[in-house]
Amino acid sequence: MSARYCVASRVSPRAAALGGVNVGLLLWRAQLQMFINQTIRSGKSGRIVGTIVGAAVIVLAWSWEAIITWLGVQASHRLPIGVDPVHLLSLAFLGYTAVLIFSSLLFSLNALLLNPDLDLLLAAPRSVESVLAGRMVVQILRLFLLSLLFTTPALLVLAVANQNPLIPFVFAALYLLYPVFVVVTISLMSLLLVRFIPAGRGREILTLFGVVLALGVNLANFALNPALRDSGFGRRPNVAPSLPDIPAASASWSPSGWAGRSGAAILRGDWSTAAEWAVLLLAVSAAIFVAGTVLSGRLYLAGWIQAVPPRRRHSTTRVRRLKGAIPLLSPVLASIVIKDWRMRTRDLAQLVRFVMPVVFLFVIFGLRFPRLLSGVRSLGDGPPAAMLGLLPAWILLFSLSISLGLSAVSLEGKSIWVFAASPNSTLRFLQAKCWSTALPTASVVALAALAAEILVRPGWLWAATAVLLAVAEAAAVTTLMVGIGAAFARFDWTDARRMIHPVAVFIGMGLFSVISGVSALLLVISLALAGATGFPLFTTWLAAMTVSIGGAVAVAALGILIGNQRLRELEVS
C-alpha cells in the first residue's frame, strides 16, 4: 500500500464522482474483455462448450422462472391473498441488503488486499478518489447485472400480465440505485478494516469472514426460525413455517421502504408515485456516492490504508516441530505427508476445507441429536443399527474425500516443479498424496464412527466391524479421489476453491454415490440372504462388506493409474 506517496488531489467532489464513473466503466470494459477472451475467444473447445452450456442453463432457468411467475400471477387473480405488496417488496430489498453487505465486503477487501491492479490504477493520471470510486462503480454494475439476471423473466411476465411495459425499467432503476448506499458504506469500512489486516493474510481473512457468516446464518436460522427449533426431523405440530417479519423494512425513512414503495407503485400502475420514491432513492444515492468518493480519497491519502506487517516467527518461540518421520513410511513419503499437513493447517482456506465438514456435521446432527439417537437405537442390535450409526461418518467421508482428495495434487500449485525436478517417480508422488489425504480422513472418519457406534450400541461385534468398514472405505474412497484429482489437476490456482476442477467434482460425487448405493444394496442383499438361507447374518454381512470394499479398492486403483498417466504426461512449462 503506497498511500503516503500519493499526491493529494484537488478535484471537486462532482468531478471526482464523475471521474469514478469513468474509471468504473473502463474497468468494467476491461473485465468484460477478459471474460470474452477467457470464454468465447479462448479457442479452447472445453471453455466454449462450458460457456454454451452455461448460457443454456440460464435460458432454461429463465423459462422456468417465467412459468412459475405466470402461474403465480394467475393464482393471485383467482385466490385473493392478503399480502401488502409494499411490505413484501421492502422485506425483499432488506433481505437483498444482507447479500449486498456480504458481497461488497468481499469485493472491497479483495480489491484492496489481493488484486495487484490497484497500484497500477493509482499510478495512472487519475485522482485517488476517482480510482476508489471506480471500484465502487464496478461493484454496483456487477450487482445490477446479477439482479437483472435473476429477475428479468419475472419482470417481463409481470409487465405482460399487468400490461405495463414500465415495470422492468423501474425495477432496473431500483436495482441500479439501491446497492449504492451499501456499496459506498462497505467500501469505506473496508478502507478502515485494511489497517488491521496483516499483509499477505487477506485471502485468509476473507475465508474466515465467509465461514463466520455461513455459520452465523445457519445458527441464526436454527435459533430464530420457529419451524426449525426442534430436536428431531419433525416440525412442531402447531407451528407453521414462517419468515421472520421486520416491520422497519417498509418504514418511510429506510431505503428498503423507498424501493419497496416504488416497486409496489409501478406494479399497481401508479407511475408518478413510483417515480417519486425512485427519485428520492436517486438523490440520496447520488449524495452518498459523492460523499463516499471524497471521504474514501481522504482516508486513503491520510495513510489509513497501511497493512499490518507480517508477523515474524521467532526462533526462540518456535512451535513444536514435526520431526519429519512417520512410522512405516519412507522419508520421501513422510516428508510429503508432513509438508501437506503443514500447508493444510497453516493456510486458513485449506484448514477450513478440513474443519468445515465437521462443524456442519455438528450443525446438522448435533442440534437434533437426541431424537435421531433414540430412533436408531430402537432398531435394536444388528447390522441395520450399526450401519445407520455410520451415517455421520459417511457424510464426513463424502465431504472430506471430495475436498481433500480432489485437491491433494493441485495443492502443489506452481510449486509442482519441485517434484517434477526431483528424482522420484510420479507413482511415488501419488502414493504420498494418498497417504497425506487418507491418514487424516480415515482418522476423523474412524473417530466419528467409533463415537456413533458407542452411542448407538448395536452390539460390540457389529460395531467393531462397522468401524473397520468405515476406515477401509475411507482409505479406498480417498485414494480414488486423489486419482481423480490428479487426472484433473489444476496447478495454476492457489485459491482453494478453484484448485478442484468442476468435472472432477462431478465424477467424484457420482462415483461416491455409486459406492454408497452399492454398499447399501449389498447390505440389504446380505440381510435378505441370511433370512432366506439361514446362513449366519454376520457371515453374509461380512461377505457383502468385503465385496463392497473390494469394489471400492479396485475403482481406486484404476483412478490412481489414470491419475498417474496424466502426471507422467505433465510438462512443467
Binding site: 507480517p310 500447508m343 510438462e571 512443467v572 512449462s573
Partner: protein, 254 residues
C-alpha cells in the same frame, strides 16, 4: 558432463528449440545467452526433465535424461527463474523437505541446511514463512535447496535476477567455487557483464537455434573483431537493432 544432440522442442507450429547440439565438460561455468523468447528456459527445462523434447537427446552426468530421468535428476540441481516455493513453509522446513525428496541422509541434511542458511545469511530468518521473503531471499532459498544434495550439474535460470549487489556477488563466488570443485554450472542470464567475467564458455541462442558457442575469445574470432565486448558480440550475433530503436523513440517524441 552435459551433452545434447539435435534437441528440439515444438509446441504445435511453434518451434521453441531446434536441433540444439551442446557439449559442456566437468568444472565448466557455462553461460547460456539469448534474447527474450529465444528458448533458453525451454532448453534448461528439457535438460532438467521438466519438459519432454519433441526429438533429439540429452545426457546429463552421463545419463540419458529421458531414458532414466530419476537417476539423472539425482545428480542435478535446478534453480528456476522466479521459483515458486511453498508459502506456508519456513525456509528450514522447505530445505528439510527438499533434502528428503533428494534422499539426503537426515543428519547430513540437517548439517548442510544449517551451513547453507548461514552461507546465504538466512540463519536468523530460517523459521519465517517463505511468504514473507523477498524475491532475492527466495532465490537464495531456491539455490540452497539445489545445492543440498551436492549435485554434479547445476542449472540456473536467470540466477541473479532480484538479488542485491552483495548477494549477486556472493552467488558468483559460490558458482565459481562449485566449478573449482569439478562441478558443472549451466546458467542463463541477460546480464552480459556477469557472463563475460565469469563464464569459461558461452553459447548464444536465437529463435531456438544455436548461433554461437565457445570461449569469449572464440566468439570474438567468430564475429571477426578482436577486443569487442560480449555485449557487442551478442548484438552482432542476435541482430540487435539500435538504429531502429532510435528511430522509433524519435517518432514517439514528434
Amino acid at each position: 558432463m552435459l551433452s545434447t544432440r539435435l534437441l528440439t522442442k515444438r509446441y504445435g507450429s511453434l518451434t521453441a528449440v531446434e536441433d540444439l547440439d551442446l557439449e559442456v565438460g566437468g568444472g565448466e561455468l557455462f553461460g547460456f545467452l539469448g534474447p527474450n523468447g529465444a528458448g533458453k528456459t525451454t532448453t534448461i527445462k528439457m535438460l532438467v526433465g521438466l519438459l519432454r523434447p519433441t526429438s533429439g537427446s540429452a545426457r546429463v552426468a552421463g545419463i540419458d535424461i529421458m531414458a532414466e530421468p530419476e537417476k539423472a535428476k539425482a545428480r542435478i540441481g535446478y534453480v528456476p527463474d522466479a521459483a515458486t516455493l511453498y508459502d506456508k513453509l519456513s525456509a528450514r522446513e522447505f530445505l528439510e523437505f527438499s533434502g528428503d525428496l533428494y534422499h539426503v541422509e537426515r543428519r547430513l541434511r540437517d548439517r548442510r541446511i544449517e551451513a547453507l542458511l548461514k552461507l546465504f545469511d538466512l540463519a536468523d530468518r530460517g523459521n519465517d514463512f517463505l511468504s514473507g521473503y523477498s524475491r532475492g531471499m527466495r532465490q537464495k532459498v531456491s539455490l540452497a535447496a539445489a545445492l543440498l544434495h551436492d549435485p554434479q550439474v547445476l542449472f540456473l535460470d536467470e540466477p541473479t535476477v532480484g538479488l542485491d549487489p552483495q548477494s549477486a556477488r556472493q552467488m558468483k563466488d559460490i558458482l565459481q567455487d562449485l566449478c573449482r570443485e569439478g562441478k558443472t554450472v549451466f546458467f542463463s542470464t541477460h546480464i552480459l557483464e556477469i557472463a563475460e567475467r565469469m563464464c569459461t564458455r558461452l553459447a548464444i541462442i536465437k529463435q531456438g537455434r544455436l548461433v554461437a558457442m565457445g570461449s569469449l575469445q572464440e566468439l570474438r574470432h567468430m564475429v571477426g573483431q578482436d577486443g569487442q565486448s560480449l555485449e557487442q558480440i551478442f548484438l552482432e550475433l542476435t541482430g540487435g537493432r539500435e538504429d531502429d530503436v532510435s528511430a522509433v523513440l524519435r517518432g514517439l517524441e514528434s
